[in-house]
């Protein structure tokens, strides 16, 4: 492919766009893995809204 005298500018433009998009995808994917693990750990401890309700006193 002959990109003429300004080929470097074209390659840099596509390179930067690719790097930013790949960075964004990697960040979102890694964030998901970390969050999924945290949710799994916390749900494994069986923490629910009911578990923090104060016990009712019987009269």
């Amino acid at each position: 492919m002959n990109l003429g005298p300004h080929a470097a500018f074209i390659w840099w433009a596509y390179g930067v766009a690719l790097a930013v998009v790949l960075g964004l995808i990697a960040w979102i994917a890694l964030d998901y893995r970390v969050l999924r693990r945290q949710v799994g750990e916390l749900e494994g401890e069986r923490i629910t809204r009911r578990s923090v309700q104060a016990p009712r006193q019987s009269t």
């Binding site: 500018f9 074209i10 923090v52």
Partner: protein, 246 residues
């Protein structure tokens, strides 16, 4: 499933899990088609091969502006209906919109050097897009600074709606002021001024970039719903920990 059901974060999460692989696949396919057309596109009679930068610069510019428009709609959802999913949608958009605006600025600069003889000029179009990028960074910083998500959402929503005034300024800057940047050549009265041999690859890449935007946005929204779930569970855990007053 009624549309209103999607406003439930748990149902939205389930739908996002099902949709994401399909959206990612369609996005990849769209990029394959778009890049194939880009590769085969002819050189411009004045700009030569540098016109290929247009195929990533223009869609990025559109999506940078679209991101802020989307955040503005979400901001209304936050301020008027106080719906947490609107907060999530606004927050998830900011880094994606900022990334596309950054791509627009860098590719525009790399296109400008061989065509205008300079990487940057402080004219209305370039400066207003730089302001858009800085506003994105401001919204991201605001979300990270305020700890309570609902308070952060309201503050970010106000900033977003105030910042929306920049969108018509960006769009019409090339008409209102003298600028090095060319006037609108695709979305304009009288139809596109770009030849079909360049317009078709441009629109194909615009479709691919838009699909990428929605895929990333859905994934980022899913992440933020999970982040809120983690926060809630951590708060509950702190309440039931030995020595807590709960």
């Amino acid at each position: 499933m009624a549309l209103i059901d999607l406003a439930n974060p748990t149902r939205f999460l389930a739908l996002a899990e099902r949709l994401l692989p399909w959206l990612a696949g369609v996005t990849l396919l769209a990029f394959a088609v778009g890049l194939h057309l880009t590769y085969g596109a002819p050189d411009d009679y004045q700009q030569g091969a540098t016109v290929k930068i247009m195929f990533i610069h223009v869609p990025s510019a559109w999506l940078g502006m679209f991101g802020w428009a989307l955040m503005s709609v979400a901001a209304l959802g936050t301020l008027v209906w106080r719906h947490p999913l609107a907060d999530v949608a606004g927050k998830a958009t900011a880094p994606i919109g900022a990334s596309f605006t950054f791509i627009c600025l860098v590719t525009g600069s790399l296109w400008g050097r061989p065509m205008w003889g300079t990487y940057w000029v402080w004219d209305a179009r370039l400066t207003s897009v730089l302001v858009l990028f800085l506003m994105y960074l401001g919204v991201i910083a605001l979300w990270r600074t305020v700890e309570d998500p609902s308070r952060a959402a309201r503050a970010a929503a106000i900033l977003t709606l105030v910042g929306a005034i920049n969108l018509p300024i960006i769009k019409f800057s090339v008409d209102w002021w003298n600028t090095l940047h060319q006037p609108a050549s695709v979305v304009r009265l009288g139809g596109p001024a770009v030849h079909a041999s360049l317009l078709v690859p441009l629109l194909a890449m615009a479709v691919a970039f838009t699909l990428l935007f929605f895929t990333l946005h859905l994934a980022a929204m899913r992440n933020d719903i999970l982040r809120r779930r983690v926060r809630t569970l951590m708060l509950l855990k702190a309440q039931i920990a030995p020595g807590s007053s709960a």
